[in-house]
């Protein structure tokens, strides 16, 4: 696993290495957004996350939205406008106003093009709004400055002094100018520039918001696509590796034994009349060989899809796993339904791996497996009372679990301070179906 590209996060919130990812698990935990657990086991959690390694992305906040965006292309026009913010509609409105005031055919064409752009590419429209308003603002500033100069020119000229007879300090100068010059076009221009300024001041932060939103969404989409390509790649690779392993196991194991079985039986056939004792020995050997072949096939099947999982679903399969564990393990499972079969299988093997790790390396005397489901998230928590110090970077076990879960947008977090306890949390988003079988 390439740590940085996968957005690995070390040391809990605030110590991010690589891509800063919002809403990682330790953060979610420290903010108390994790699922309520059945016992008061939260305290060691929060303390433990100081030493936490958390790897994997967590884009679940944006993920739903992204999925919608990705799956519903081409997006209908009203939806695009809603996504971009209705504010972009101000572009054609503004340009239409310009077109009317300008009374030019090229301006009208520009306005029509801008309106079309708004509907088709809201991001471009948002940029247009920002650029347009900047130029309008500049224009308005020049205009206003010019108007002010004109104003002083007006009150300073002969026309004014002639009728007022008082000069620049006259108290009624303003009202006089106002009355005498109304309708001259100067007031109208000043008011227009003021309006444009106000409009610009109001509009710029909004278009910037729209633009920023679109850029953010684009970045999120890009990272999501990269992530999906990555996880799909590893999923395909590991599936292929798994198939190769199965082929090899079958070839060297059960298949070879069946060949030997056939040869032995054929030899026994020949020996039955001439040397019945030898034939009998061969047949007995064949029986042993067939039992061994069966045992190998059984082990293989367990590795592909455990029978209890097929029979009873995830909850009982995990209970069976706990029962079969050499270190006493306790399973506390609250699932209102069954996860989809691929998720079920991935979670099962992840728990099996984590449990095997605990048994092999932790020196634990007890393991607790807790599984719950809330708000579209399946959460698995495996705690052992061993000596801690589990490092996902060392050994392939936990990295394999992470790889397995990442195909389903699942995340894996490990808290294993020296001296223990080791807590491994797996979260995977999924929907539950109604239970296959009601437990009796």
């Amino acid at each position: 696993m390439a740590p940085d590209s996968a957005g690995q996060k070390v040391g809990g919130p605030g110590h991010s290495r690589g891509v800063p990812v919002e809403d990682t698990l330790p953060q979610a935990l420290s903010e108390g957004r994790h699922l309520p657990t059945t016992s008061g086991g939260d305290a060691p959690y929060l303390a433990g996350w100081d030493h936490a390694h958390c790897f994997g992305h967590d884009e679940r906040t944006t993920m739903d939205h992204m999925n919608r965006l990705l799956t519903s292309l081409p997006v209908p026009v009203p939806r695009r406008l809603r996504d971009a913010g209705w504010g972009v509609l101000l572009v054609p409105v503004a340009l239409l106003i310009v077109a009317i005031f300008g009374r030019g055919v090229p301006l009208a064409v520009t306005a029509a093009l801008a309106a079309a752009a708004t509907l088709v590419v809201p991001a471009v429209a948002a940029d247009l709004v920002a650029t347009g308003v900047m130029f309008l603002g500049l224009y308005a500033t020049f205009l206003t400055g010019w108007m002010i100069l004109m104003f002083f020119q007006v009150i300073g000229n002969d026309y004014y002094t002639l009728y007022s007879g008082r000069g620049l300090l006259a108290m009624n100068a303003y009202s006089d100018w106002f009355i005498t010059s109304i309708g001259s076009g100067v007031v109208r221009d000043v008011m227009t520039s003021a309006l444009i300024m106000a409009f610009g001041v109001w509009l710029v932060p909004r278009t910037i918001g729209v633009h920023a939103g679109l850029v953010q969404r684009n970045a999120a989409l890009t990272s999501r696509v990269t992530r999906l390509a990555e996880t799909r790649g590893t999923a395909v690779d590991s599936a292929a590796a798994e198939l190769r392993r199965l082929e090899r196991d079958l070839h060297d194991g059960a298949q070879a034994r069946l060949v030997a079985l056939g040869i032995n039986l054929r030899a026994a056939e020949h020996l039955f009349k001439t040397n019945p004792d030898a034939a009998l020995a061969l047949v007995a050997e064949s029986r042993v060989s067939s039992a061994l072949a069966l045992a190998e096939l059984r082990a293989l099947v367990r590795g592909i899809h455990p029978p209890v999982l097929a029979d009873r679903g995830l909850a009982d399969a995990i209970r069976a796993l706990a029962l079969g564990s050499p270190v006493p393990a306790e399973a506390d499972i609250q699932l209102p339904g069954d996860p989809p079969a691929p998720v079920e299988s991935a979670v099962y093997f992840a728990v099996a791996e984590v449990l095997a790790n605990a048994v092999k390396h932790s020196g634990a005397g007890h393991v607790h497996i807790r599984i719950a489901y809330q708000a579209g998230m399946l959460r698995v928590e495996v705690t052992d009372d061993g000596h801690g110090g589990a490092d996902p970077a060392q050994g392939t076990g936990l990295a394999g679990v992470e790889r397995r879960m990442s195909t389903f947008d699942g995340i894996v977090a490990v808290s294993s301070p020296p001296g223990g306890p080791t807590i491994i949390v797996i979260e995977v988003p999924c929907a539950l179906s109604l239970p296959k079988i009601c437990s009796s």
Binding site: P307, R312, I437
Partner: protein, 211 residues
């Protein structure tokens, strides 16, 4: 001995039927799915039933469920469950009613037909027989601080064979010791496991398995 056989694979069903007939058993019914099994169990009331865990129509643990359901209606109805794999979870479910007359074996134990028929008779008489794999996993599980850890190697061997449903005589033969030595081991085992010596072997094995 009247036997009901439930197995969905035709060849295996025929094979088991023939094997049992060769050993003088009477086949009351040979069925291929869950509902038929329940009906056969309740109408035939056999001395013992041989049940495959995975049966149609669901192809999950239909056979086990049918057997458990029948045993709820007829407590202690002897059932020998066969499967391609053994699970402690299922072993526990079978043992949960503590009524005895339960066996749980891997399918390939049928190969050693003499032993298989012995097991069948043990179950029919109300004994409890667990596959060596179940017993081995159980003994491995309590490797650290459980009372089972206090047993000696030989005592473990005896307990394993006992859980597999062997009689003291059979255990003595298997381990090449005298029957007296076996019963001495038994006493020692029960003492170490804090089990009252008055109970029958069957009950005591159950207690160990359920611990």
């Amino acid at each position: 001995m009247r036997v009901v056989v439930a197995e969905d694979l035709f060849l295996l069903r025929e094979g088991i039927t023939r094997l049992l007939q060769a050993h003088g058993c009477d086949i009351a019914a040979a069925v291929g799915d869950g509902p038929a099994l329940i009906q056969a169990l309740l109408s035939e009331r056999p001395d013992v039933a041989i049940v495959d865990v995975r049966l149609p129509p669901t192809f999950t643990d239909e056979g086990l469920r049918a057997a458990l359901q029948a045993r709820r209606q007829v407590p202690g109805l002897p059932v020998l469950v066969l499967s391609q794999y053994v699970e402690q979870l299922y072993a526990r479910e079978l043992l949960a009613d503590r009524a005895g007359g339960v066996g749980y074996l891997l399918k390939d134990r049928v190969f050693t037909d003499d032993q298989f028929v012995d097991v069948l008779r043990t179950v029919a008489k109300g004994g409890t027989v667990m596959d060596p794999e179940v017993v081995a996993a159980l003994l491995a599980r309590h490797s650290r601080d459980a009372p089972i850890a206090r047993l000696t190697e030989r005592e473990r061997d005896v307990l394993t064979l006992m859980a597999e449903g062997r009689s003291n005589t059979a255990i003595a033969q298997q381990l090449f010791v005298s029957e007296k030595a076996v019963s001495k081991h038994c006493t020692s085992i029960f003492a170490k496991l804090d089990l009252p010596p008055s109970e029958s072997d069957n009950r005591r094995v159950l207690a160990v398995l359920n611990s």
